[in-house]
Amino acid sequence: MEHNPVSSEVTFVHHVSDADFKKKVRKTTILLSVITVIELAIGLIIYNMHKGEHPSEFLITLFKGVVCILTLAKAFYIVSVFMHLGDELRNMIMTIVVPLLLFVWFIGAFLWDGGSYRNLRNSYDPHHVERTAPSKDAHKAAGHHTEAQKPGVAN
Protein backbone atom coordinates (compact mmCIF):
# COMPACT_ATOMS: atom_id res chain seq x y z
CA MET A 1 0.00 0.00 0.00
CA GLU A 2 1.44 3.30 -1.07
CA HIS A 3 1.78 5.98 1.55
CA ASN A 4 0.11 9.26 1.00
CA PRO A 5 2.51 12.18 1.15
CA VAL A 6 -0.03 14.15 3.21
CA SER A 7 0.29 12.04 6.33
CA SER A 8 1.08 8.48 7.28
CA GLU A 9 -2.37 8.27 8.84
CA VAL A 10 -4.07 8.31 5.45
CA THR A 11 -3.62 5.49 2.95
CA PHE A 12 -4.98 5.63 -0.55
CA VAL A 13 -6.35 2.55 -2.22
CA HIS A 14 -6.28 3.17 -5.96
CA HIS A 15 -6.79 -0.13 -7.65
CA VAL A 16 -8.72 1.25 -10.61
CA SER A 17 -6.86 1.25 -13.90
CA ASP A 18 -6.84 4.31 -16.13
CA ALA A 19 -8.92 2.64 -18.84
CA ASP A 20 -11.51 1.36 -16.34
CA PHE A 21 -11.83 4.82 -14.83
CA LYS A 22 -12.31 6.53 -18.20
CA LYS A 23 -14.92 3.93 -19.10
CA LYS A 24 -16.80 4.56 -15.86
CA VAL A 25 -16.75 8.32 -16.39
CA ARG A 26 -17.96 7.96 -19.99
CA LYS A 27 -20.76 5.62 -18.90
CA THR A 28 -21.89 8.00 -16.17
CA THR A 29 -21.79 11.00 -18.52
CA ILE A 30 -23.98 9.21 -21.06
CA LEU A 31 -26.33 8.09 -18.31
CA LEU A 32 -26.73 11.63 -16.94
CA SER A 33 -27.33 13.01 -20.43
CA VAL A 34 -29.91 10.35 -21.27
CA ILE A 35 -31.78 10.93 -18.00
CA THR A 36 -31.77 14.69 -18.69
CA VAL A 37 -33.16 14.15 -22.19
CA ILE A 38 -35.93 11.93 -20.77
CA GLU A 39 -36.72 14.62 -18.19
CA LEU A 40 -36.96 17.23 -20.93
CA ALA A 41 -39.24 14.99 -22.98
CA ILE A 42 -41.55 14.54 -19.97
CA GLY A 43 -41.41 18.31 -19.36
CA LEU A 44 -42.60 18.91 -22.94
CA ILE A 45 -45.33 16.29 -22.56
CA ILE A 46 -46.58 18.11 -19.45
CA TYR A 47 -46.43 21.40 -21.37
CA ASN A 48 -48.56 20.00 -24.19
CA MET A 49 -51.01 18.43 -21.73
CA HIS A 50 -51.53 21.84 -20.12
CA LYS A 51 -52.30 23.27 -23.55
CA GLY A 52 -55.02 20.67 -24.09
CA GLU A 53 -58.65 21.24 -23.19
CA HIS A 54 -58.95 19.06 -20.09
CA PRO A 55 -55.54 18.14 -18.72
CA SER A 56 -55.69 15.07 -16.52
CA GLU A 57 -54.49 16.11 -13.05
CA PHE A 58 -53.61 12.53 -12.24
CA LEU A 59 -51.37 12.02 -15.29
CA ILE A 60 -49.61 15.35 -14.75
CA THR A 61 -48.89 14.49 -11.10
CA LEU A 62 -47.67 11.07 -12.20
CA PHE A 63 -45.27 12.56 -14.77
CA LYS A 64 -43.99 15.05 -12.22
CA GLY A 65 -43.36 12.19 -9.80
CA VAL A 66 -41.38 10.33 -12.47
CA VAL A 67 -39.24 13.44 -13.07
CA CYS A 68 -38.54 13.70 -9.32
CA ILE A 69 -37.37 10.08 -9.20
CA LEU A 70 -35.15 10.58 -12.27
CA THR A 71 -33.62 13.65 -10.59
CA LEU A 72 -32.80 11.60 -7.50
CA ALA A 73 -31.11 9.03 -9.77
CA LYS A 74 -29.00 11.81 -11.32
CA ALA A 75 -28.06 13.09 -7.87
CA PHE A 76 -27.02 9.58 -6.84
CA TYR A 77 -24.68 9.18 -9.83
CA ILE A 78 -23.12 12.63 -9.40
CA VAL A 79 -22.40 12.04 -5.71
CA SER A 80 -21.29 8.44 -5.92
CA VAL A 81 -19.21 8.53 -9.13
CA PHE A 82 -18.15 12.14 -9.78
CA MET A 83 -17.61 13.01 -6.12
CA HIS A 84 -16.22 9.50 -5.42
CA LEU A 85 -18.34 9.10 -2.29
CA GLY A 86 -19.00 5.52 -3.35
CA ASP A 87 -15.28 4.78 -3.05
CA GLU A 88 -14.95 6.00 0.55
CA LEU A 89 -15.15 3.89 3.69
CA ARG A 90 -18.64 2.90 4.76
CA ASN A 91 -18.47 4.82 8.03
CA MET A 92 -17.53 7.97 6.15
CA ILE A 93 -20.44 7.53 3.71
CA MET A 94 -22.83 7.10 6.65
CA THR A 95 -21.77 10.34 8.37
CA ILE A 96 -22.78 12.18 5.18
CA VAL A 97 -25.88 10.22 4.18
CA VAL A 98 -27.57 9.65 7.55
CA PRO A 99 -27.93 13.37 8.46
CA LEU A 100 -29.41 13.97 4.99
CA LEU A 101 -32.27 11.62 5.96
CA LEU A 102 -33.65 14.63 7.83
CA PHE A 103 -34.82 15.75 4.40
CA VAL A 104 -37.44 13.00 4.43
CA TRP A 105 -39.15 14.67 7.40
CA PHE A 106 -38.28 18.17 6.19
CA ILE A 107 -39.89 17.76 2.75
CA GLY A 108 -42.87 15.74 3.95
CA ALA A 109 -43.77 18.02 6.86
CA PHE A 110 -43.41 21.33 5.04
CA LEU A 111 -45.18 20.33 1.83
CA TRP A 112 -48.02 18.94 3.93
CA ASP A 113 -48.11 22.21 5.84
CA GLY A 114 -48.36 24.18 2.58
CA GLY A 115 -51.25 22.04 1.35
CA SER A 116 -53.03 22.36 4.67
CA TYR A 117 -52.72 26.17 4.65
CA ARG A 118 -54.20 26.26 1.17
CA ASN A 119 -57.17 24.13 2.23
CA LEU A 120 -57.76 26.19 5.37
CA ARG A 121 -57.78 29.46 3.45
CA ASN A 122 -60.06 28.07 0.77
CA SER A 123 -62.46 26.89 3.48
CA TYR A 124 -62.46 29.90 5.78
CA ASP A 125 -61.24 32.95 3.83
CA PRO A 126 -63.79 33.97 1.15
CA HIS A 127 -61.72 37.03 0.26
CA HIS A 128 -58.71 34.86 -0.58
CA VAL A 129 -60.85 32.54 -2.71
CA GLU A 130 -62.30 35.50 -4.59
CA ARG A 131 -58.89 37.09 -5.13
CA THR A 132 -57.27 33.93 -6.55
CA ALA A 133 -60.17 32.88 -8.74
CA PRO A 134 -59.46 32.88 -12.50
CA SER A 135 -60.94 35.93 -14.20
CA LYS A 136 -63.64 35.20 -16.79
CA ASP A 137 -61.78 36.49 -19.86
CA ALA A 138 -58.56 34.69 -19.04
CA HIS A 139 -59.03 31.12 -20.16
CA LYS A 140 -56.42 31.61 -22.87
CA ALA A 141 -53.06 30.02 -22.15
CA ALA A 142 -51.53 31.36 -18.98
CA GLY A 143 -48.20 33.10 -18.95
CA HIS A 144 -49.03 35.90 -21.35
CA HIS A 145 -47.52 38.89 -19.72
CA THR A 146 -50.15 41.53 -19.84
CA GLU A 147 -48.34 44.79 -19.41
CA ALA A 148 -51.43 46.54 -18.07
CA GLN A 149 -51.81 43.87 -15.41
CA LYS A 150 -50.64 45.16 -12.07
CA PRO A 151 -48.16 42.74 -10.49
CA GLY A 152 -50.02 40.58 -8.01
CA VAL A 153 -50.12 41.34 -4.34
CA ALA A 154 -47.94 39.13 -2.19
CA ASN A 155 -49.92 36.64 -0.16
Partner: protein
Amino acid sequence: MEQTVNTERKWWGGGRSPFNLEYGKLMMWYFLMSDAFTFGAFLISYGTVRLSSNSWPDPNAVFNSFPFMGHANLPLAFVSLMTFILIISSVTMVLAVHEGHKMNKAGVIKWLAWTIIGGLAFLGCQAWEWTHLYHQNAWWGSNPFMNIDGSVSSTNFTNFFFTITGFHGFHVFSGVIINIIMLIMTWKGVFDNRGHYLMIEKAGLYWHFVDLVWVFVFLAFYLI
Protein backbone atom coordinates in the same frame (compact mmCIF):
# COMPACT_ATOMS: atom_id res chain seq x y z
CA MET B 1 -16.43 -3.04 2.73
CA GLU B 2 -16.78 -3.51 6.51
CA GLN B 3 -13.22 -2.73 7.38
CA THR B 4 -13.76 -1.12 10.75
CA VAL B 5 -13.56 -4.22 12.94
CA ASN B 6 -10.68 -5.95 11.27
CA THR B 7 -7.83 -7.25 13.37
CA GLU B 8 -5.25 -6.05 10.87
CA ARG B 9 -6.77 -2.58 10.53
CA LYS B 10 -7.83 -0.88 13.70
CA TRP B 11 -9.29 2.28 12.19
CA TRP B 12 -10.17 3.74 15.55
CA GLY B 13 -7.09 2.53 17.41
CA GLY B 14 -5.09 5.68 16.73
CA GLY B 15 -2.23 6.24 14.34
CA ARG B 16 -4.43 6.41 11.27
CA SER B 17 -7.36 8.46 10.04
CA PRO B 18 -10.61 6.57 10.82
CA PHE B 19 -12.16 7.72 7.56
CA ASN B 20 -8.94 7.36 5.54
CA LEU B 21 -9.44 10.95 4.45
CA GLU B 22 -7.31 14.02 4.72
CA TYR B 23 -8.67 16.60 7.19
CA GLY B 24 -9.41 19.33 4.62
CA LYS B 25 -11.29 16.97 2.34
CA LEU B 26 -13.42 15.65 5.20
CA MET B 27 -14.26 19.21 6.25
CA MET B 28 -15.20 20.03 2.64
CA TRP B 29 -17.68 17.14 2.76
CA TYR B 30 -19.22 18.45 5.97
CA PHE B 31 -19.39 21.96 4.57
CA LEU B 32 -21.16 20.65 1.48
CA MET B 33 -23.61 18.77 3.70
CA SER B 34 -24.49 21.97 5.54
CA ASP B 35 -24.77 23.81 2.23
CA ALA B 36 -27.15 21.10 1.04
CA PHE B 37 -29.40 21.94 4.00
CA THR B 38 -29.29 25.64 3.11
CA PHE B 39 -30.36 24.95 -0.46
CA GLY B 40 -32.85 22.38 0.81
CA ALA B 41 -34.42 24.98 3.09
CA PHE B 42 -34.76 27.40 0.17
CA LEU B 43 -36.27 24.84 -2.17
CA ILE B 44 -38.61 23.38 0.43
CA SER B 45 -39.92 26.82 1.43
CA TYR B 46 -40.56 27.38 -2.29
CA GLY B 47 -42.49 24.10 -2.36
CA THR B 48 -44.49 25.03 0.73
CA VAL B 49 -45.52 28.40 -0.68
CA ARG B 50 -46.30 26.92 -4.06
CA LEU B 51 -48.50 24.23 -2.52
CA SER B 52 -50.28 26.81 -0.38
CA SER B 53 -51.22 28.77 -3.54
CA ASN B 54 -54.31 27.92 -5.54
CA SER B 55 -52.43 28.29 -8.82
CA TRP B 56 -48.93 29.01 -10.08
CA PRO B 57 -47.38 30.29 -13.36
CA ASP B 58 -46.48 27.65 -15.95
CA PRO B 59 -42.65 27.49 -16.20
CA ASN B 60 -42.89 26.48 -19.87
CA ALA B 61 -44.77 29.67 -20.65
CA VAL B 62 -42.31 31.82 -18.70
CA PHE B 63 -38.97 30.31 -19.73
CA ASN B 64 -39.53 29.94 -23.45
CA SER B 65 -36.93 32.25 -25.01
CA PHE B 66 -33.57 31.62 -26.60
CA PRO B 67 -30.86 34.17 -27.49
CA PHE B 68 -31.06 35.49 -31.07
CA MET B 69 -34.31 33.62 -31.69
CA GLY B 70 -36.61 36.60 -31.32
CA HIS B 71 -40.07 35.74 -30.05
CA ALA B 72 -39.98 32.08 -31.05
CA ASN B 73 -41.72 29.89 -28.49
CA LEU B 74 -39.04 27.42 -27.34
CA PRO B 75 -39.99 26.07 -23.93
CA LEU B 76 -37.21 24.36 -21.95
CA ALA B 77 -34.64 24.84 -24.76
CA PHE B 78 -32.36 27.40 -23.15
CA VAL B 79 -32.37 25.80 -19.72
CA SER B 80 -31.48 22.44 -21.33
CA LEU B 81 -28.43 24.10 -22.81
CA MET B 82 -27.47 25.45 -19.37
CA THR B 83 -27.98 22.02 -17.80
CA PHE B 84 -25.76 20.32 -20.37
CA ILE B 85 -23.06 22.97 -19.99
CA LEU B 86 -22.96 22.26 -16.25
CA ILE B 87 -22.93 18.47 -16.69
CA ILE B 88 -20.06 18.66 -19.18
CA SER B 89 -18.07 21.02 -16.96
CA SER B 90 -18.56 18.53 -14.14
CA VAL B 91 -17.12 15.78 -16.34
CA THR B 92 -14.05 17.88 -17.23
CA MET B 93 -13.55 18.49 -13.49
CA VAL B 94 -13.59 14.73 -12.86
CA LEU B 95 -10.87 14.39 -15.49
CA ALA B 96 -8.83 17.21 -13.89
CA VAL B 97 -8.97 15.46 -10.50
CA HIS B 98 -7.97 12.21 -12.18
CA GLU B 99 -4.93 13.82 -13.83
CA GLY B 100 -4.07 15.20 -10.40
CA HIS B 101 -3.94 11.66 -8.99
CA LYS B 102 -1.44 10.83 -11.70
CA MET B 103 0.59 13.99 -10.88
CA ASN B 104 0.18 15.10 -14.48
CA LYS B 105 0.48 18.89 -14.36
CA ALA B 106 -0.31 19.52 -18.03
CA GLY B 107 -3.43 17.35 -17.84
CA VAL B 108 -4.72 19.16 -14.76
CA ILE B 109 -4.20 22.55 -16.44
CA LYS B 110 -5.98 21.43 -19.60
CA TRP B 111 -9.11 20.01 -17.93
CA LEU B 112 -9.27 22.73 -15.29
CA ALA B 113 -9.23 25.36 -18.03
CA TRP B 114 -12.15 23.61 -19.78
CA THR B 115 -14.03 23.49 -16.47
CA ILE B 116 -13.55 27.25 -16.01
CA ILE B 117 -14.78 27.90 -19.54
CA GLY B 118 -17.86 25.77 -18.83
CA GLY B 119 -18.53 27.69 -15.63
CA LEU B 120 -18.21 31.04 -17.39
CA ALA B 121 -20.52 29.84 -20.17
CA PHE B 122 -23.13 28.88 -17.58
CA LEU B 123 -22.84 32.26 -15.85
CA GLY B 124 -23.20 33.98 -19.23
CA CYS B 125 -26.38 32.02 -19.94
CA GLN B 126 -27.78 32.91 -16.55
CA ALA B 127 -26.94 36.59 -17.04
CA TRP B 128 -28.79 36.52 -20.37
CA GLU B 129 -31.82 34.82 -18.83
CA TRP B 130 -31.99 37.27 -15.92
CA THR B 131 -31.63 40.26 -18.27
CA HIS B 132 -34.34 38.89 -20.53
CA LEU B 133 -36.73 38.37 -17.59
CA TYR B 134 -35.88 41.81 -16.21
CA HIS B 135 -36.89 43.37 -19.53
CA GLN B 136 -40.17 41.47 -19.29
CA ASN B 137 -40.70 43.33 -16.01
CA ALA B 138 -39.94 40.27 -13.85
CA TRP B 139 -37.86 41.03 -10.79
CA TRP B 140 -38.02 40.77 -7.00
CA GLY B 141 -41.42 42.21 -6.09
CA SER B 142 -42.68 42.29 -9.67
CA ASN B 143 -44.34 39.42 -11.49
CA PRO B 144 -45.77 40.07 -14.97
CA PHE B 145 -46.80 36.43 -15.54
CA MET B 146 -50.29 35.02 -15.08
CA ASN B 147 -51.08 31.82 -13.23
CA ILE B 148 -51.69 28.75 -15.33
CA ASP B 149 -55.44 28.89 -14.60
CA GLY B 150 -55.61 32.52 -15.72
CA SER B 151 -55.78 34.09 -12.27
CA VAL B 152 -53.49 36.92 -11.16
CA SER B 153 -50.22 35.60 -9.79
CA SER B 154 -48.54 36.81 -6.63
CA THR B 155 -44.90 37.94 -6.58
CA ASN B 156 -43.92 34.72 -4.78
CA PHE B 157 -42.99 33.15 -8.10
CA THR B 158 -40.38 35.72 -9.14
CA ASN B 159 -39.13 36.26 -5.58
CA PHE B 160 -38.30 32.58 -5.18
CA PHE B 161 -36.94 32.25 -8.71
CA PHE B 162 -34.47 35.13 -8.45
CA THR B 163 -33.45 34.33 -4.87
CA ILE B 164 -32.74 30.66 -5.45
CA THR B 165 -31.17 30.85 -8.93
CA GLY B 166 -29.22 33.88 -7.68
CA PHE B 167 -27.91 31.95 -4.70
CA HIS B 168 -26.95 29.08 -7.00
CA GLY B 169 -25.36 31.48 -9.49
CA PHE B 170 -23.30 32.94 -6.66
CA HIS B 171 -22.07 29.42 -5.88
CA VAL B 172 -21.13 28.92 -9.54
CA PHE B 173 -19.31 32.26 -9.50
CA SER B 174 -17.32 31.41 -6.37
CA GLY B 175 -16.61 27.95 -7.85
CA VAL B 176 -15.16 29.58 -10.97
CA ILE B 177 -12.99 31.85 -8.79
CA ILE B 178 -11.76 28.83 -6.78
CA ASN B 179 -10.99 26.97 -10.02
CA ILE B 180 -9.06 29.95 -11.39
CA ILE B 181 -6.98 30.08 -8.19
CA MET B 182 -6.35 26.33 -8.49
CA LEU B 183 -5.31 26.80 -12.12
CA ILE B 184 -2.79 29.51 -11.17
CA MET B 185 -1.43 27.40 -8.30
CA THR B 186 -1.06 24.38 -10.60
CA TRP B 187 0.61 26.57 -13.21
CA LYS B 188 3.16 27.83 -10.69
CA GLY B 189 3.92 24.26 -9.62
CA VAL B 190 2.67 24.63 -6.02
CA PHE B 191 1.08 21.17 -6.00
CA ASP B 192 4.07 19.54 -7.68
CA ASN B 193 6.27 20.90 -4.89
CA ARG B 194 3.74 19.81 -2.28
CA GLY B 195 3.79 16.30 -3.70
CA HIS B 196 0.02 15.93 -4.08
CA TYR B 197 -2.97 17.49 -5.85
CA LEU B 198 -5.46 17.18 -3.00
CA MET B 199 -6.51 20.82 -3.36
CA ILE B 200 -7.83 20.00 -6.84
CA GLU B 201 -9.93 17.24 -5.29
CA LYS B 202 -11.44 19.66 -2.77
CA ALA B 203 -12.17 22.25 -5.45
CA GLY B 204 -13.65 19.40 -7.52
CA LEU B 205 -16.01 18.40 -4.69
CA TYR B 206 -17.29 21.96 -4.51
CA TRP B 207 -17.75 22.16 -8.27
CA HIS B 208 -19.66 18.87 -8.41
CA PHE B 209 -21.87 20.10 -5.59
CA VAL B 210 -22.78 23.17 -7.67
CA ASP B 211 -23.81 20.81 -10.48
CA LEU B 212 -25.75 18.68 -7.99
CA VAL B 213 -27.72 21.68 -6.71
CA TRP B 214 -28.53 22.76 -10.27
CA VAL B 215 -30.13 19.35 -10.87
CA PHE B 216 -32.63 20.18 -8.12
CA VAL B 217 -33.11 23.84 -9.11
CA PHE B 218 -33.78 22.65 -12.68
CA LEU B 219 -36.37 20.21 -11.33
CA ALA B 220 -38.09 22.67 -9.02
CA PHE B 221 -38.33 25.69 -11.31
CA TYR B 222 -38.34 24.43 -14.87
CA LEU B 223 -39.70 20.89 -14.91
CA ILE B 224 -42.50 20.69 -12.35
